[in-house]
């Protein structure tokens, strides 16, 4: 049984998070490296180029990589301190087995043998699909690809899904139905030369910091910036127009803009008629979306809505960028379509400085969502239910159609099925659902019901605490491979150091496990990341995400290659849709009508305040890595409640007061951060923490019917001022850790200069 073996306090003592504060050997150690390894940051989809300083098989620091064209040496604080995830006191270096006292270290053989036996036992008793895999896209393309193949052919289960389900799937669904392909349409260099930048639901400064410089370079040449977000984020502070709309009303705003574009005659009819389908239906859906209607739903002034529509309609060139703000909704895919409709109606896509893109969030959020890591997908962004697509993959994988499972269920649905007792066993890697799925209590209950769970991770994340067997896996810098950045640029991750102890790359663990499960014939030929990539090339060939012509050497020679790249002599495709050619069979783009519908939960008399959640610049996703790095914890040790002074006044709340926030799922107590930069009817909580400090205690398991993304960005809550004794003890512990980081001034050197 996957009950927690110890108290949370005991687990924390044994496995952290503890802080890594200094490089190996301390600040006075010799800092001259043996070598510099050119690679990329592991945190976020920007995938900034970075050089890791390596000495004695340890990463001891970083050096900017100014030649890499995307970021030219620029890094956010996560990138600057990323090296401190190595040589970390919490690092798992031995397999762990659950016993009645907690976790005990195990030799590799025992752990693997037990894992294989339990998988076979559960599948024999309950069928192959009773064992599920939940994975993640902070992993390389090679690991993502192999996870898909391992689940289908190693385990024979259809129930594989990934944490991109909490990240990129709304954008993917909206892009595929509009363009027939799922990738940002432009290289980021197109941002620099554009006239108008429309950013919607993207806290660019904190979640994709390098993009701020692209936006500013455009603004310095005269571009206008419009920012749509319930909060005045740092990039919005100086924008030309800020539209702080009600949470969950994005589609209403975009429908209102399309309505005005049509009314004012600002449609590019030549483009619409020649290069698109479905405009009439899209127009029909917005015919009643007058500025007054839009104002009512969005809480924005009519004049601001009209100004935005006017600027959008009259721009000569434009880039529309969005992110999780619009995608983390129960109409996430429709929000995306409503943005794309604005782009298509004005015909500004597929040429220099004109385009559109979602800003991918996770490290390999782009590449990891292309090669069969999803419940309904095969490599090359193929459809697992399409007979031709299946035939291609069966040929590459040398398996029969019967051996290849069909479509499974999505991440939250897998957790629901575990909770319902339908799925009995789980392999979990690169995913921390206890922090990242909505309704934390439900997730903990579900994991407690598993008959067997095996996890692979480098730290014992809050979710891994439920595992029966934990296999220590590799950090990004301990293996080579490729990732694909937010631009669609395939780049090379280079190995800097060896895995410590018994830890090894996830792909090696899966290959070995497949052999033990009697499926070695599908995996025996994999002896390196490169060998996996060579098969990925063949598997993706002919798909929309075509990597056929990409090689490791070509990536390094060109500082990345943009897919599609079908042949080795093909230069890659930085800008999609040039000449108005889209990926649907008829070559045209498709408008998708987006009739208004409200969020699954709206404010009412009982829960009168909107809650929205998001990231801070100092942490990455569920915080498994960044909550262990001293500098980052010092800057932002714990969550807080952002609240407008007008709302705070109604409840008698002052800066720093403890506030209880309660939804229909749960309640938590956080200190108030009183700021004028958020709508007065809305509060905000960053989501990187766990247990009683997890924002997802409050969020609901409401899913988008198309993308199955949870509605993290819209919940209804009630708030009240409370007393400090209601704070979770974890808050004090995190404040203590921040103090530890702050007061851990390095030793005084004898001579500095």
């Amino acid at each position: 049984m996957s009950q927690l073996p110890n108290s949370l306090d005991e687990l924390r003592r044994a496995f952290g998070p503890h802080l890594n504060l200094a490089p190996p050997g301390g600040w006075q150690a010799d800092s001259v490296p043996d070598k510099l390894v050119k690679t990329h940051c592991c945190f976020c989809g920007q995938q900034c180029g970075i050089q890791l300083k390596v000495k004695d098989n340890q990463v001891i620091g970083f050096e900017p990589w100014e030649e890499f064209p995307f970021n030219k040496g620029k890094l956010c604080p996560k990138g600057v301190k990323r090296y401190l995830q190595g040589n970390h006191p919490d690092r798992l270096t031995k397999a762990l087995l659950r016993d009645e006292h907690g976790f005990a270290e195990s030799d590799w053989e025992t752990a693997m043998a037990r894992t294989a036996a339990k998988i076979q036992e559960i599948q024999a008793k309950h069928g192959p699909h009773s064992f599920a895999v939940l994975s993640g896209v902070s992993m390389s393309n090679e690991k993502s690809y192999l996870t898909g193949k391992f689940a289908r052919l190693g385990l024979g289960t259809r129930n594989l899904d990934y944490n991109g389900r909490l990240c990129m799937v709304s954008a993917g669904a909206g892009n595929k139905r509009a363009f027939g392909v799922d990738r940002a349409a432009n290289p980021w260099s197109d941002i620099e030369g554009t006239d108008l930048i429309w950013v919607q639901g993207s806290n660019v400064a904190e979640c994709s910091p390098i993009t701020t410089d692209y936006i500013w370079r455009a603004r310095d040449k005269g571009a206008r910036l419009i920012v749509v977000d319930p909060r005045i984020t740092p990039i919005a502070r100086t924008a030309d127009l800020v539209l702080p709309l009600k949470p969950g009303s994005d589609c209403a705003l975009n429908n209102g803009v399309l309505h005005l574009l049509h009314k004012w005659g600002l449609i590019d009819w030549a483009f619409v008629k020649e290069r698109t389908n479905g405009f009439e239906q899209a127009l029909e859906a917005v015919k009643d979306c007058t500025p007054e209607w839009t104002s009512e739903l969005t809480g924005l002034p009519v004049a601001a809505i009209e100004q935005a529509a006017r600027w959008w309609g009259e721009a000569k060139s434009s880039m529309l960028l969005h992110a999780r703000g619009i995608e983390h909704q129960s109409k996430g895919a429709d929000n995306v379509s409503s943005c794309i409709n604005m782009v298509l109606a004005t015909g500004r896509i597929g040429r220099p400085f004109c385009g559109y893109g979602t800003i991918t969030g996770q490290g390999n959020g782009q590449g990891g969502r292309e090669h069969g890591h999803k419940c309904d997908q095969l490599p090359g962004n193929r459809d697992i239910e399409n007979p031709e697509h299946r035939a291609h993959i069966c040929k590459v994988w040398n398996c029969t159609d019967e051996e290849l499972p069909r479509k499974g269920i999505t991440a939250q649905e897998i957790m629901n099925a575990i909770h319902a007792g339908e799925i009995k066993g789980l392999m979990l890697l690169c995913f921390n659902p206890v922090v990242s799925l909505p309704n934390t209590d439900f997730t903990r209950e579900a994991l407690s019901k598993l008959e067997f769970m095996v996890g692979m991770d480098f730290f014992l994340s809050e979710s891994m605490q439920y595992a029966d067997v934990v296999l220590p896996s590799a950090l990004q810098e301990e293996d080579e491979g490729t990732t694909t950045s937010a631009e669609g640029r395939v780049i090379k991750i280079n190995k800097a150091v060896d895995c410590p102890g018994d830890a090894r790359p996830d792909w090696q663990i899966m290959v070995e496990l497949a052999k033990r499960l009697g499926k070695g014939r599908f995996f025996d030929h994999f002896d390196s990341s490169r060998s996996i990539f060579e098969e990925l090339r063949k598997a993706s060939s002919g798909g929309t995400a075509d990597y056929g012509g990409i090689t490791y050497e070509k990536i390094e020679q060109n500082m990345g290659v943009f897919w599609p790249c079908p042949t080795e002599d093909h230069p890659g495709t930085p800008r999609l849709f040039e000449g108005g050619k889209f990926f649907h069979p008829d070559g045209k783009a498709k408008f998708y009508p987006t009739p208004w519908r409200p969020a699954m939960e709206v404010v009412d008399a009982d829960y009168p305040v909107w809650l929205t959640t998001g990231r801070v610049v100092f942490h990455y996703l569920s915080g498994t890595q960044t909550r262990r790095i001293g500098f980052l914890v010092e800057q932002c040790p714990h969550p807080y409640l952002e609240i407008h002074p007008r709302l705070a006044e109604r409840y008698g709340i002052a800066e720093g007061d403890p506030v209880e926030i309660e939804s229909r799922r749960g309640a938590m107590v956080l200190p108030a951060k009183v700021v004028t930069t958020i709508r007065p009817d809305t509060v905000f909580i960053p989501y990187h923490w766990t247990s009683k400090l997890a924002a997802n205690q409050l969020t609901a398991r409401h899913l988008d019917p198309v993308s199955k993304i949870p509605e993290y960005k819209v919940s209804a809550v009630r708030i009240r001022k409370t007393t400090p004794d209601r704070y979770s003890p974890e808050l004090a512990e995190l404040q203590r850790m921040a103090y530890e980081a702050r007061s851990n001034q390095p030793d005084i050197p004898e001579q500095v200069f």
């Binding site: 984020t233 919005a236 002034p301």
Partner: protein, 195 residues
């Protein structure tokens, strides 16, 4: 080629600052700093705005820290860089810390030496930009040829400051937006329906 010369300028643009503290973190990683950052980054007034501002040494033409140093321990080199106090001379009196109009120098008790930004002498002398200006994601900290700044930025460089009765001329520049630059501080003023 050394990048510390008359041709190159350091431009600080708080309008772009996103408060990420990459500069603070990276400064501490710089070869000789050994975990100590020489940059301050301040939230101006978080209640009212997300505005943050980095403070690096402005490298004054006639540095006040050097003027007030009783031990003559603070030197400005010909390239315009004002350096940390010279260890053998420094008496740790903190005059420099107290007098700097920008609040830059830090005197470490125990070390008895004043430490401050030296424009990454070890990096700039070897042809690199200073560490903070290399990593800054929004390029609120910019190191670039002075002659190019007009083409690069709309904001105007300011190198002369009046602080109380002091007139200060600096090597580094603060970038100043024009009066028309938009600024959004209170979401309550941008919504309809009132609250």
């Amino acid at each position: 080629m050394a990048l510390v010369n008359e041709e190159y300028g350091f431009f600080i643009d708080p309008q772009r600052c996103i408060g990420c503290r990459a500069c603070v973190g990276a400064c501490a990683e710089c070869g000789t700093h050994r975990g100590r950052s020489m940059i301050h980054l301040d939230e101006m007034d978080r209640l009212a705005s997300t505005q943050t501002a980095p403070t690096v040494c402005m490298h004054c033409e006639d540095p006040i820290c050097a003027q007030v140093c009783p031990a003559d321990a603070i030197k400005r080199t010909e390239d315009g860089v004002v350096h940390s106090s010279q260890k053998p001379r420094c008496i740790g009196c903190q005059n420099c810390e107290l007098s700097c109009p920008f609040g830059v120098p830090i005197v470490l008790s125990g070390l008895e030496q004043m430490l401050k930004c030296d424009l990454c002498y070890d990096r700039t002398s070897e042809g690199h930009k200073p560490m903070c200006a290399t990593v800054c994601p929004s390029q609120a900290l910019l190191y670039a040829p002075k002659a190019q700044i007009e083409g690069l930025r709309k904001n105007k460089p300011l190198r002369e400051f009046t602080i109380g009765t002091l007139q200060v001329k600096t090597r580094n520049a603060v970038m100043v937006p024009d009066d028309e630059a938009p600024l959004h501080l209170d979401a309550a003023l941008l919504i309809s329906g009132g609250f």
